[in-house]
Assembly symmetry: C2
Homo-oligomer: 265 residues x 2
Amino acid sequence: MNSNGESTAQTRETGTLGKLMVLLDLVTHADAPLRFTDILALAGQPRGTLHRQLTHLVEEGLLELDGDGRYAPGLRLLDFAARSWARNEFRLIAEPHLRDLQQATGETVHLGVLRGQSIIYLDKVEGRQPVRMYSQIGNASPCYCTGVGKAALSLLPAESLVDLLAGLSFTSFTASTHVSAKTLLAEIREIADQGYAFDREEHEAGIRCVAAPIWSEDRTFMGGISITGPAYRLSMELLHQWSVPVQLAAASIMEGMRVRLGPRR
Amino acid sequence: MNSNGESTAQTRETGTLGKLMVLLDLVTHADAPLRFTDILALAGQPRGTLHRQLTHLVEEGLLELDGDGRYAPGLRLLDFAARSWARNEFRLIAEPHLRDLQQATGETVHLGVLRGQSIIYLDKVEGRQPVRMYSQIGNASPCYCTGVGKAALSLLPAESLVDLLAGLSFTSFTASTHVSAKTLLAEIREIADQGYAFDREEHEAGIRCVAAPIWSEDRTFMGGISITGPAYRLSMELLHQWSVPVQLAAASIMEGMRVRLGPRR
DNA sequence: TCTGTTGTTCCATTACTTGGAACTTAATTT
DNA sequence: AAATTAAGTTCCAAGTAATGGAACAACAGA
């Protein structure tokens, strides 16, 4: 299987686990708790099989079954995630630099990492209001219309990049969203040259950002950091200016990673 | 080794999934990323078997394998958890009331739910500083030394309570921590009578709280909310006073649950 | 280079998952 | 209230995937 394809309904070679994960995906991605029959239709499996699988997931706390026979994501997932997040090395290293960048600009700062075709946000430092956790952290966003995403894509070797772009299906979130691999590829090459990326209201109308890529030497980690804010406050001119501190912060984080994780990587 | 519940090597009736979850638990509960051999020793399984299991978990993104052959929790867990949290019905219903309570007291407010022998924190509303997400949310804490935990235990029918207490292993976090089922049981009966619970620096020195239980009519959900703060600011007298607003907020949340989830439950 | 350690692959045996069908329970209609 | 349909659960023979011992490969230290 290819390195970071991770394409959609692709049957993975993970046996029983893979089938169960598909179910977890179904339930967690649904907009509302699903009944047994709903899942039956979506999963397309025999009733007996599905019933046993769901029972196992519930027994393990990965799903929860309420009194009305509806399945919802289980709380055990929270516990796993809390540990996963609290000890994430990249996040721990990046955190102080994110804070500095937030202080310097007054705007919201994100740390994200490329996983397959998505950016998963690892951290977020806001200014005034208390963070609504999970509001962004942990969420998976498309790579082709976010600053961090495009910055991360600029790190891929040409071949992997073309493969990944070929597998994308573009959703037009705003009028500015890239809708073809062609224009996206052109921009990513430009980003690779200049070392930073913009999001020109491509994911959400009225929201702009400037982002810089971050990577570990062994390319295990490919992601980025960004400064995000409302378009009325963040002119493109200002964003161009901020491309400098973003890149400096990214460099500091990478230096921290090199020191902490050993020079080899 | 094991944190608080989840007693050792308990074989669940969940077939292949159960075995994989044991591995996930091992890795996520460890203090640092584990090498293959570390897991081999902890899991006590044949090398070949373990290797394939870990490979499957990595392929599914539940674990991550870094360049040095160390296994860490995977980022996919974050994505699952983000969805799980964002749509949790109890949290959504409780949130505005938690905010009100925070405003009224100025101290930190928690929402927690009993899962097995642990309290899992579903939400947290702080005053001044931005919330460090996951710092508390999602974390599992012992039920016998937290305000929310003892409040939740007071909801259990006598028999279940005795069973649960019998299975506890007490860790003495501070000088005030309950260390026997006997004294704990006595306090829980008192809590059941009066309708609110205190944490008198039992989990963390210098931290007190007052908590009130919350339950759904079908007892699917048993948990509570609490006001927490430093002992120097929260005298026991003040906590006694605050037992009233905490109980009122709890009542409001339960009313909300009744309306939203239907009268049956 | 040798040697012990760590990590990976292979394959016959075993055990679990599979899925059809029968069954029970709940909801809807007459 | 009885009949009818839908929804959810249990059962078991057959097939498939997991198991685990052993052999193999990669690596580190002496």
